[in-house]
Amino acid sequence: MLEQLWEILLSVDFYVAIIRMTGPLLLAAMGGLIAERTGVITFSMEAMMLLGAVGGVIGSGVFGNAWIGLLTAVMGGMMVGLVFALMAVTFGANQIVTSVALNIGALGLSSLLFAMVFTARGEAVRTTITVPSLSEWRIPLLADIPIIGPIFFHHLPLVYFAFLMVFVVWYVLFRTTWGLKIRAVGEHPQAADTLGIRVARVRYLALLFTGAMAGLAGAFLSIGVLNTFQENMASGRGFIAYTAIVFGKWQPLGVLLGTLLFGAADALQLRIQARGLPIPYQLMVAFPYLVTLLVLVFFVGKATWPASYGSPFARENK
């Protein structure tokens, strides 16, 4: 058994899978991180991913081009972000409740939209269809390096984009005026408002960005991996991305580590199941959540999350 485990751990294929499975999680988590830093909870990333997934299939199927699918996926995710912002920022509604509502609604709406677009009148509801999909990019020269090449340099373009975004998000957050505004709004909206920063606008833009990124993550699943849409396609990945943000203590590098941990756990449990190893694969699935819980208990202080986390801001509160 131990030998077989080593075999898995030493295979290149395992590490390729880790990077691939981290992709959608990282896309969503990097988007979510920006909104989280402005002080809103991004528990609705599941809904954004679902509408991104179906948006991707619709765009790709209707226009026959996977790149247009990416565009519609972004629009799908941003639509959820907009509704969430309207509820949470403008109305000041409870963010968790709003998110739960959006997640339930997106579960239904995504399947409904898929059926609407791809089912002819009077026909039985179609559940499968194949649409043009994204193809992997092989980076010349770099992909030829043994071991490292296939692991890192032969992936969907979205994977490169996701990893690039870790740097971009870090740079924006900590090296630009935008980042300063974002963090100010998250830490002390009243003070930010006094300084002339428009709190609501910053939060709206951040949530639209989250929607766009989570939408891409959804498209990753639908037109990147499967080339079709399935009911409840995100299957909890939006929540995992959220958990990874908590794991990473709201820091870009930490969040990257969190998504890699979840990606690795997923890749490992699939391989354990496929080989029928006598290790409970559920332990692998549960492991990252357990680690996140431990991080939360032992390494996260009250100061770690944005001070205004989850609470709405109204100017008369000043």
Binding site: G92, N94, A101, N103, G105
Partner: protein
């Protein structure tokens, strides 16, 4: 002029209460209206679809029985969220607590299958409540002791429990005497060894919750009411054979939670901490103890949801046996305006939508998925409506906008803390 004053007070009370009633009703109507546009876009007739939905939920005895079966777990998870929320403990772990509760009931039923049915039911309910409370214990302690956000911890524990559940369903449950390779793991696991799939054995039939007709036919009621005409009519009604005791227990739970929350010191303390922990501290309430006890009560209620589903309806566990009923407790509680009685009504709304969805698809061709959209819109409208309404009344406290109902202490809430 005391009467005038008290009249005025009653009128104000009525206004504040009726807005609690009006907002969810308008929200639900709005949700049906907007979803009607979706149905038109789909190419069906909204009226036809909604008629089918209604008849699927209430049109026949069988459909009413289905609705009641669907709503029972939602009552319990809705109550769990309501109790927690009222006391400042936002429990989004009802999903996991429910799964653990169901696991415990089946474990009791399968392990002690030689016990009399009533004992399995009793011990099962007890075990489900305790295990649900156990699942909420750590988040409660962490919030009380370290100020760690319970939303995050309860969410994470959901996943740990569900993975435990999935694992337990894949480990054969065999007795020590029958299997030489028995280990303690086989004692915990629940998979029926005779099945190729992850599926537990059924709990003994004697421990299934009885139908209402068999309850009424028991000696107790027949000697009590004997030959009274109305009683004979009631007992012979075929509807009662299809409805189990579970929804009745749900109704009892609503009343009990209402009583605890509004008529006992425990409930008063919980609500005081929920409205304003600092003020509660000045009143001499032990905040940490209250948070932990509220977490335990909330978790226990969610655990009971699992017990009701197993004892009353499914009698065994399979993977995803009751997906999302825990998470749906949150919207059920919100549409119910965080009031136990309201939870009953909104659970009925949710249960009816689910029960009627299939008939809607068969008759009008509108996919069942539409009911998710209706639910989501109703929640969004209700939440937005409540928030806007409260902002207008300038009742919103500075940071927490959502602890609304109790920002004004209404007369009936003036319970003194001993």
């Amino acid at each position: 002029m005391k009467t005038a004053e008290s009249l005025q007070q009653t009128w104000r009370l009525f206004l504040s209460r009726s807005s609690n009633l009006l907002i969810p009703i308008l929200a639900i109507l709005g949700a049906f209206l907007i979803s009607g546009l979706l149905i038109i876009a789909w190419g069906s007739n909204p009226l036809e679809a909604y008629t089918a939905l209604w008849s699927g939920a209430f049109g026949s005895l069988a459909s009413i029985a289905t609705t009641l079966t669907r709503l029972t777990p939602l009552i319990f998870t809705g109550l769990a969220v309501t109790y927690g929320y009222r006391s400042g403990f936002f429990n989004i772990g009802a999903e996991g607590q429910l799964y653990l509760g169901a696991y415990s009931v089946v474990w009791i039923g399968v392990t002690f299958s030689d016990w009399p049915g009533w004992l399995i039911i009793l011990m099962g309910i007890l075990a489900a409540g305790l295990s649900g409370a156990f699942a909420a214990l750590l988040p409660g302690l962490l919030k009380a002791g370290r100020g760690i956000n319970e939303v995050l911890t309860t969410l994470l524990i959901n996943y740990l429990i569900i993975q435990f559940f999935e694992w337990g369903l894949r480990v054969d449950h065999v007795s020590k005497e029958l299997d030489q390779k028995w280990t303690i793991i086989n004692w915990i696991g629940l998979k029926d060894a005779a099945q190729p799939y992850p599926k537990s054995a059924l709990i003994p039939e004697s421990s299934w919750l009885p139908s209402l007709s068999s309850v009424l036919n028991s000696e107790f009621f027949t000697t009590l009411f004997g030959d009274a005409g109305w009683f004979q009519n009631l007992v012979s009604s075929p509807a009662l054979t299809r409805i189990t005791l579970a929804p009745v227990l749900g109704l009892v739970a609503i009343l009990v939670v209402y009583f605890i929350l509004f008529r006992t010191t425990v409930g008063f303390r919980a609500r005081a901490v929920g409205v304003n922990p600092e003020a509660a501290r000045y009143m001499g309430i032990d905040i940490n103890r209250t948070i932990v006890s509220s977490a335990l009560i909330s978790g226990a209620l969610a655990g009971l949801a699992g017990a009701m589903e197993i004892l009353g309806s499914q009698h065994r566990i399979i993977p995803n046996f009751l997906l999302n009923a825990g998470f749906e407790g949150i919207p059920v509680a919100m549409i119910g305006q965080l009031n136990p009685l309201g939870v009953g009504v909104s659970a009925l709304f949710f249960g009816a939508l689910r029960a009627g969805a299939n008939r809607m698809q068969i008759i009008s061709g509108v996919p069942t998925h539409l009911v998710f959209v209706i639910q989501a819109l109703a929640i969004l409208f209700a939440v937005a409506g409540t928030t806007i309404h409260l902002t207008k009344k300038k009742l919103r406290p500075r940071i927490e906008n959502h602890r609304h109902e109790n920002t004004q202490v209404s007369p009936e809430d003036k319970v003194t803390d001993a």
